[in-house]
């Protein structure tokens, strides 16, 4: 079959007959929808239904594997641009009995993902066959979801961290808004990649106890609080073990702002700061 004259229906303005010159144009020229069609000033632009930028956003999520399971950590802030608008947002969620999901990025998209996952888990429960969806399956589902939306140029604007334990095996993975997905022993999203991953790479060990892993996460959350403007001093940690998922109550860490060098730092350099 000769597809050289093929034109996708509904994407073009009406041409009475396709002259040979028109046939050479690729179908990506002159779509009706979209803001780039300067040649169709007479046609009203259809409203864009694509996500172009996020509005209410959460900052980094961290995840580490330890001896008995997986820990996820995030703060409870959601920012509206440069304002820290909501300070009690839970960005960690249990998915079934085996997995915890943490999200950074657009909060409304995270809520939509939660709805979809709830339906997924309910459907799985209704099979009543003794099997349940584990972290590997949820990770794959989320990857196809995010990649599929990316291909429609309408992404769910999140970076997701997925941690779970099933049959004694720990699992820790990431899916980003364009569908990049990977697993690792320690992961982070957003600013956490720059500030927490170097510490993880230096100090993480496979046989850490729960206390050691929490201490490591708290060390990184503190650095993030000092150096990320969208972070607040109110954190939650999700602990996933064979027994299930437990998300802690929000708590704060001790900060230290009282270095002597910060008091009157320019005593020797008057005029600078």
């Amino acid at each position: 079959m000769d597809f050289s004259n093929f034109q996708a229906p509904g994407m073009y303005p009406y041409h009475a007959s396709s002259s040979s010159k028109q046939a050479e144009k690729s179908y990506v020229d002159h779509p009706i929808m979209g803001p780039h069609n300067s040649s169709f000033t007479l046609m009203p632009e259809a409203p864009s239904k694509h996500t172009k930028y996020p509005y209410v956003t959460g900052t980094s999520v961290l995840g580490v594997k330890y001896k008995d399971g997986v820990l996820l950590a995030s703060d409870t802030a959601a920012s509206y641009g440069s304002t820290v608008r909501y300070k009690s947002v839970q960005r960690l969620k249990a998915v079934g009995k085996t997995t915890a999901l943490g999200a950074s990025g657009e909060i409304s998209d995270f809520q939509a993902i939660n709805e979809l996952l709830d339906q997924l888990i309910t459907n799985d429960y209704m099979w009543d066959d003794g099997n349940n969806l584990g972290p590997v399956e949820i990770h794959n589902y989320l990857n196809r979801l995010m990649y599929g939306r990316r291909n429609k140029f309408d992404p769910l604007w999140n970076s997701l961290v997925l941690g779970g334990v099933k049959n004694g095996q720990q699992y820790l993975g990431v899916v980003t808004m364009i569908g990049v997905h990977y697993v690792d022993d320690h992961v982070a999203t957003g600013f956490g990649n720059h500030l927490a991953r170097p510490i993880f790479r230096d100090e993480w060990r496979a046989d850490m106890t729960h206390e050691e892993a929490v201490a490591l996460l708290e060390k990184c959350m503190l650095v993030l609080f000092y150096r990320d403007r969208s972070a607040i001093n109110k954190f939650q940690i999700a602990n996933v073990t064979e027994a299930g998922v437990h998300i802690s109550e929000p708590y704060a860490l001790q900060t230290n702002w009282s270095y002597k060098a910060f008091e009157n730092p320019t005593a020797g350099a008057v005029g600078s700061w």
Binding site: F262, G268, A269, S272
Partner: protein, 275 residues
């Protein structure tokens, strides 16, 4: 008519931007701007009990290529002051050389040891005059009669006075190490340990930084410059027999011998004496 009564106006400083429009036009037509050599970089400074420790990595990049695997990013300003530089390598090199010369003249004029704030003021006024076009981000540290000082200088001319500072593309990785480990009144050994850990965090986690760790420890006793204090990226294989290319291993296609010194025949006058 003489113009001797007119006061001479000193030439205005800064860059002229007359050719910018022509350059953008050329770029649109396909001409490529040359890539400039940046220092990618992780540079850090830390104040400890007796003075200042400066640290830097040693990778210089030109676009995506590593053009120098072992460059020196800790520059000399005065016997008691040093400066790490990040950003465009030519800018950091030349601005520190320039201020170093100005400090020598200043020492002659005042008859005193240079102070860190003098270097700071000279650097920041120069950078501010050039409105950020001189792309030099510096960590300036030293010890003078008033004690140890550490400053971060930004390309537009602002400065920070801090107990610990990091700059460059690896600054976040290095800062995460500092924020989690810094304490007041560190000893020299603790300080060196933290500084080299911060530089290593930059080397291994940032693509713009790499190779070796340079340290410079400044106290009121003097300056200790430890070039290649750590070399955590050695060449992993080197042939034990060495590399030997004997004559006969490669086919010779053609031979042309050119005299390095031209033989000149003198027709008239005296030949020049060979020195």
């Amino acid at each position: 008519m003489t113009k001797s009564n007119v006061m001479e106006v000193p030439p205005k400083g800064g860059f002229t931007f007359d050719l910018c429009r022509r350059n953008t036009m050329l770029q649109q037509q396909g001409a490529k701007l040359p890539k400039f050599r940046k220092t990618g970089t992780t540079i850090v400074g830390l104040i400890f009990k007796d003075g200042v420790i400066l640290g830097a990595d040693t990778r210089a990049t030109e676009g995506e290529i590593v053009c120098d695997k072992n460059c020196e990013k800790i520059h000399y300003l005065a016997p008691n002051i040093s400066c790490c530089g990040a950003g465009t390598a030519a800018d950091t090199e030349n601005v520190t050389d320039m201020v170093s010369s100005q400090l020598v003249l200043h020492r002659y004029a005042t008859g005193r040891e240079s102070r860190v704030v003098t270097a700071l003021t000279m650097l920041k006024s120069h950078l501010f005059r050039y409105q950020g076009q001189v792309s030099a981000a510096l960590v300036l540290g030293g010890v003078d009669v008033t004690g140890p000082h550490l400053h971060a200088v930004y390309p537009h001319g602002s400065t920070d006075t801090l107990p610990f500072a990091t700059m460059g593309s690896g600054s976040l990785a290095a800062m995460s190490v500092f924020e989690s480990r810094y304490k007041e009144n560190l000893t020299k050994e603790e300080g060196m340990e933290i500084v080299s850990a911060a530089i290593c965090a930059g080397i291994f986690n940032d693509l713009g930084s790499g190779s070796n760790v340079d340290l410079c420890i400044i106290t009121k006793e003097g300056k200790e410059y430890l070039r290649n204090y750590q070399q955590p990226n050695p060449r992993s294989y080197s042939r034990s027999k060495g590399y030997d290319f004997k004559i006969g291993h490669t086919a010779v296609l053609s031979t042309k011998i050119t005299q390095l010194r031209q033989h000149v025949q003198v027709l008239e006058g005296d030949a020049m004496e060979e020195e």
